[in-house]
């Protein structure tokens, strides 16, 4: 049993997820979207109608965050960070030049992090995916170069994007989206407009 758990916990897909800031934030926001409304609904000290309203509002907020993050933050900051890093870090320009883009580097990193050297030697995908220099690195060295500066640049871009997207942009966007959505599902009524008092100009 412990062996099986160890295998799951040390698996490559989970490691890829755990090492990427974008996946971490996506998973965390999804958990929030489930957990927070769930705990509001099981609270017995709140009125049932208020509970439903608060849970729906919280779910919509987290869903907005998730959508915004997937559409705006991940593509822009993840890809943008690599390009910015290439320009800023001139002492590492040669390292950046080895890779075409973010995806290309992350693919390399996935193979380089494999703990068993034998997994790389007999892997035919490596021959197709990478250029001669990177192929030699992966196939001939037991501990290939990781290019940590590139990885750090991508992750820093992800973190900055996550903070800007979720903490600054999401509250503004959700404020505009949530109330019409709540009205659409019948949980909120439109506030009646109070007629403006006309000034009697003849007086």
């Amino acid at each position: 049993m412990i062996g099986m758990i160890s295998r799951i916990v040390t698996s490559s897909p989970l490691t890829t997820m755990a090492e990427s800031a974008s996946t971490q934030v996506t998973c965390e926001t999804t958990m929030k979207a489930i957990g927070r409304p769930g705990f509001i609904l099981i609270d017995n000290n709140i009125d049932p109608d208020t509970k439903k309203y608060a849970a729906a509002k919280e779910f919509l907020y987290q869903a907005t965050c998730l959508l915004l993050y997937a559409i705006f933050v991940v593509p822009l900051f993840k890809k943008g960070a690599f390009k910015v890093g290439k320009k800023i870090f001139k002492d590492h320009a040669a390292d950046f030049a080895k890779f075409k883009n973010t995806e290309d580097y992350l693919r390399y990193r996935k193979y380089a992090e494999k703990p068993f050297y034998s997994d790389r030697i007999h892997n035919n995908k490596i021959d197709k995916l990478f250029n001669d220099e990177l192929r030699t690195e992966l196939k001939t060295k037991e501990h290939p170069r990781m290019f940590n500066r590139i990885k750090g640049t991508i992750e820093l871009g992800n973190i900055i994007g996550s903070v800007l997207g979720l903490a600054v942009l999401a509250p503004q966007v959700s404020h505009a989206i949530i109330h019409p959505c709540l009205r659409a599902i019948g949980m909120e009524q439109k506030k009646p407009k109070t007629p403006k008092q006309q000034i009697d100009t003849k007086a």
Binding site: I2, G3, I5, S6, V9, T10, S11, L14, T15, M17, A18, E19, S20, A21, Q24, V25, C27, E28, T29, M31, K32, I34, G35, R36, G38, F39, I40, D43, N45, G85, I88, F89, D91, H92, P115, F116, M146, F147, N148, R149, I150, K151, G152, T153, E155, L156, N158, I159, S162, V163, L166, A167, V168, P171, Q172, H175
Partner: protein, 188 residues
């Protein structure tokens, strides 16, 4: 040291070890500052409602920051309990243990977001809010004592919907010139 060098150092650190707790804690910190600020800037709400909402949002994030850290570090320590095959080389075992530690931290952060933080918030926030803003505390209504009067209620006589029903109906005066004996014909 200029900005580029500092950024480079941060990137190197993140490249070697990007803990799952870093982004979530940073997001919680910035959210804890920005969300209450935006709420207070909203001109459509009442000042008391704004204060209450802003304080609640701020408290949620204050609870979230240490919880993420604690859950992440605690679950990462569990990685040392995992056992690997004895014939495995020591450096591979060390590499796998490091991997397990990172992954367990990620699982810990997810558990914190799903169960621990919402649970802590639902338990801790209400008493804190009542302490800081007692005017928003819902007043307890006095319990109504049950009525012990056992006198049966007087029933009102039902109104009959007939011609001669009721007290105030004036009966027609009819002169009867017949002796009230013998057989009657006509029924007057």
């Amino acid at each position: 040291m200029n900005i580029v060098n500092r950024l480079g150092k941060i990137c190197d650190t993140l490249g070697v070890n990007n803990k799952a707790t870093y982004p979530v804690m940073l997001i919680a910190l910035v959210k804890g500052i920005c969300r209450p600020t935006f709420t207070m800037m909203d001109k459509t709400e009442k000042p008391e409602t704004k204060k209450y909402t802003a304080l609640r949002e701020g408290l949620t994030e204050i609870i979230a920051i240490p919880t993420y850290w604690a859950c992440g570090e605690l679950t990462a320590k569990l990685a040392s309990k995992f056992k690997f095959k004895k014939d495995m080389p020591a450096d591979v075992q060390a590499s796998l243990r490091k991997r397990a530690s990172k992954n367990m931290m990620f699982i810990g952060v997810c558990v914190a977001a799903l169960f621990v933080i919402p649970g802590l918030c639902s338990v801790a926030i209400k008493p804190i809010m009542d302490k800081f803003m007692p005017q928003n505390k819902p007043q307890k209504q006095p319990i109504k004592e049950p009525v012990t009067n056992t006198v049966p209620p007087t029933l009102k006589r039902p109104a009959m919907n007939t011609f001669f029903a009721g007290k105030n109906v004036v009966k027609p005066m009819v002169y009867n010139n017949r002796i009230p004996t013998g057989m009657k014909v006509g029924g007057v």
